[in-house]
Symmetry: C2
Subunit: 245 residues, 2 copies
Amino acid sequence: MEKPKPLWQAICDTLRAEIARGHWRTGSRLPTEAELAQRFDVNRHTVRRAMAALAEAGLVQSRRGAGVFVRAPARLPYHIGKRTRFHQNLLTSGRAPSRRILHAAIARATEAEAEALALPPAAPVHTVEGVSLADVQPISLFRSVFCATRFPQLGAALAAGQSVTAALKALGVRDYTRKSTRISGHIADVLQARHLDIAPGDMLLLSEAINVDTDGHPLEFGQTHFVAARVDLVLDGADFGPVVA
Amino acid sequence: MEKPKPLWQAICDTLRAEIARGHWRTGSRLPTEAELAQRFDVNRHTVRRAMAALAEAGLVQSRRGAGVFVRAPARLPYHIGKRTRFHQNLLTSGRAPSRRILHAAIARATEAEAEALALPPAAPVHTVEGVSLADVQPISLFRSVFCATRFPQLGAALAAGQSVTAALKALGVRDYTRKSTRISGHIADVLQARHLDIAPGDMLLLSEAINVDTDGHPLEFGQTHFVAARVDLVLDGADFGPVVA
DNA sequence: GTAGATTTGTCCGTATGTATA
DNA sequence: ATATACATACGGACAAATCTA
């Protein structure tokens, strides 16, 4: 971060994260502006600036003389289209993206993975698993698989914490696009719940995606379990091609 | 039906429906080919032909000497793209589409509906609610909203059980495309569970879509609650426009 | 561990209806 | 009309893998 974030924006992010985390329920009243000012040790006007941003985003609604009320359990709109990039996606929503790598290794492709990447069965593949976060809140668990024969050096770049886009770029992949996406609903097991800071049994949205290079060859097969309570998957019309066929 | 369906295909459909309905659990063994041949009163080879189709679809897996095993709880791939049509969608998956209208009326648009259709607040709208079925199995609950001022006659056509596409066609709408889709995860309440033949608390995938005419004007705002255990939402690459930008 | 029964996989063949050239 | 090709459906025999007693 080169530019320091304005104070009101930091407060806004903090409150948004707390609302998203369910710290305050939908419909409940937030602490008064005076109380929040004291908590963050800022002037009441700075709190008001943060509140204005939250109200603009439709997250809260203020009623004069009554207080500020939580409107909806803040769901992050995650855009899926021809070019779906995690970092860019969150930045346009004004959230801070980050990833925590849990595991990276070379393994034999499972049946599904080999088919998705158009590889022979049990071909060697890089596998990367981790947690995606927005403003320090877990958003999703991902598992990405790449052909190890084609990208021998990929493991190091990914384990070093680089984004997928950056790691691929370093290996000469200038661009990649999404070929297909499949979305299904599932239930979090104990392990997933631990990593995502939710309760076992909570809802997950599983997005299974195949990314291809400019030649149409499969590059990456990614499985991402989103916390359903925290994200909406949005398919933009612009990404569906021209409206008039 | 003009052309009679081949025997093996009918058997395939029957078994698929039974698997989808949960008649046989995931991982369990199906009756032997000999038993099925006796049940359907056909030759064993005909059963094998049906099995081959199920295996092709990834629904079952056979192990020589052991039997045929259910691979996955048959999820219907529901394709979402520029032109998403319920009937066509199911037909390409070899399932029989049908709808049951629960309620159709003219009402005032809610805030969200008015915004989606670009109408003034509380404008009059047709609302249609119902259940979508595949092979007599409930797939989703839908609620569609149309501008009542633009389509005064739409209510009758829809209540008569016509498809959305057919009803709009009768009113001069030659084509419509999907502008945007938002997918989120929810939990079924008691009422939804009753209509969808599931248990309260089961997972639902909510798809909120805006369809526009060829001029880009919003036509329909549709909210569809899919039974997560019965459908996958599939976004095809071809519908995202050309791969090479 | 072995033998035998069970079950799927593969090969042979025959007959029939349908679409195509 | 005729010939050809193809998908459907049936019947049988045996091999290979698996399960069970």
